[in-house]
Symmetry: C2
Subunit: 305 residues, 2 copies
């Protein structure tokens, strides 16, 4: 069985549903690809789509969706709150099972090449696929956004990895392999947002905390409670439970409790099972001891019996 | 997609591999059924087989395996340490996904009927399928074992649910639906087995603890450490973390630590995820937020999009 790759492209259209539908149809039309989720935000004027499939299927679906977006979205007319530089703004590839990060890096290179050659779209490789250290970070790649990049793309350090060194109306696209991201929020028993901000600062990589963790302190109006809102960018390196325990420990210093936590959207099974293993002090537990995983195994045991 | 039922029949043969192989082949021959595991114990002279499939597939495979066992195993010649009353000693059906306990109870009734009618084997329904309260417990059903049941089967209260009221050389079979069982061990930082025995007594249902928990205190020679060895008979009612925390709390009374725990064999994903939810205080987490579960969904989302 071929491995499974997840792809979560972001398109710069969150208002015209007929445009979004046409892009989604391109993805659905690739046999074997499974559309898992999509959501559109009108104020961001942006849509996020999640689909999975074999490496070849995912590469093909991403290409067709990007081609359709380039025909339907004119970046000169685009306005929205979210930073963006292209009709297809960013295409991350995430290894899910039976595929290595390196294979995903190679896939993004092949996709970028084809988008550059056939669609005339400037493509920047980012994250694990980055060809220069400063391009690992998407914010650097997208600096100046579509409008600013019109000029900046001519500078040597902004030269795209593939495609022309000038910006079409479809803008430019960042393509890269990355680890699965888990959106994780931890709720505090306080209405003092400054405590959440202090804790966020303590745990995030940019201020000396866990290097793969991004965090902000925010106020949740509905519950009148402060929250540490977190992006876990590498749950294998820094697991959920470690961040949870760190926040609990920091909160105790202010005499407040962690009232709960939330996973927003999807998380790999492994991320949750690692938490169970940690707290139950489980010894020698293997992935294939999970009944559902054994069932999902591709009949290997059956013939081996 | 049809639901999935797990079946874990026990056969009274753990030495003659050619006999075990023929029984396994009957299971393999049913299309759609997946043999997940099997193990044979020579001193018990018993084999435990695990397979899954749709309700109809599992019922068919269990019938064929029981028929083959009745032809190859003569209980008058059987000796072994484990209590037993038939060539096919016990057939539990366990709902895994998309199948209710009630459906499994109905399946066991259909299987028992067919085994009685076509194979002439006395069948007792046990656990969730039991038709009398005292037959819920397998130990009661199997009382006296094969040898004792030869006479006892003629008593009104030992009358089988299906099949003849006399014992053939294939003996009798207990058939029943039950919850998944998790074999769970908790290791203590002490070599005093009496502490493990005291803790086991505190948590098991038979002495006033959790009603669906069975537990014993034992000594693990290799590690020179005491262990509480547990059968979790209903992990939905009494989750792993609750038993782990109870053992930790009891152990603290003796000034000793829980050094670790082990899951022996398979456990449903839900049992582990519930532990993660408890310790991370996860709010509103749903099964379909697990990436692998979303992927495994039978394309429902795809057409709904």
């Amino acid at each position: 069985m071929a491995g499974i790759v997840e792809c979560i492209p972001n398109f710069s259209e969150g208002r015209r549903h007929e445009v979004i539908d046409q892009i989604l149809q391109e993805i659905r039309d690739v046999s074997g690809v499974k559309l898992l989720d999509h959501s559109s935000d009108a104020s961001h004027n942006r849509s996020v789509v999640t689909f999975i499939g074999s490496p070849e299927q995912v590469k093909e679906a991403a290409f067709r969706a990007a081609r359709k977006a380039s025909l339907l979205i004119d970046m000169d007319l685009h306005q929205g709150e979210h930073p963006r530089m292209g009709a297809t703004d960013v295409i991350p590839f995430i290894p899910v099972s039976g595929v290595s990060m390196q294979e995903c890096v190679e896939l993004t290179g092949q996709l970028g090449q084809r988008m550059g050659d056939e669609l005339g779209i400037p493509v920047y490789l980012y994250e694990e696929s980055a060809t220069r250290p400063e391009r690992k970070n998407l914010a650097n790649v997208r600096k100046g956004q579509y409008e600013g990049l019109k000029e900046a793309i001519r500078e040597a350090e902004r030269r795209p990895d593939f495609g022309p060194q000038e910006l079409p109306k479809a803008g430019a696209t960042a393509v890269g392999a990355r680890h699965p991201l888990i959106a994780y929020n931890i709720n505090l028993g306080t209405s003092d947002v400054n405590i959440a901000k202090q804790i966020a600062k303590a745990i995030r990589g940019s201020s000396g905390g866990f290097s793969s963790v991004k965090a902000l302190g925010v106020m949740i109006e509905e519950s009148n409670a402060a929250q540490v809102t977190i992006n876990m960018c590498n749950y294998k390196e820094v697991p959920l439970y470690r961040v949870f325990e760190a926040v609990k420990s920091e909160a105790a210093r202010y005499g407040i409790n962690v009232t709960g936590s939330e996973i927003v959207g999807l998380a790999p099974q492994e991320a949750l099972i690692e938490a169970a293993k940690f707290y139950l002090r489980l010894e020698g537990f293997e992935r294939r001891q999970v009944l559902e995983n054994r069932i999902a195994e591709q009949g290997g045991r059956k013939s081996a019996d």
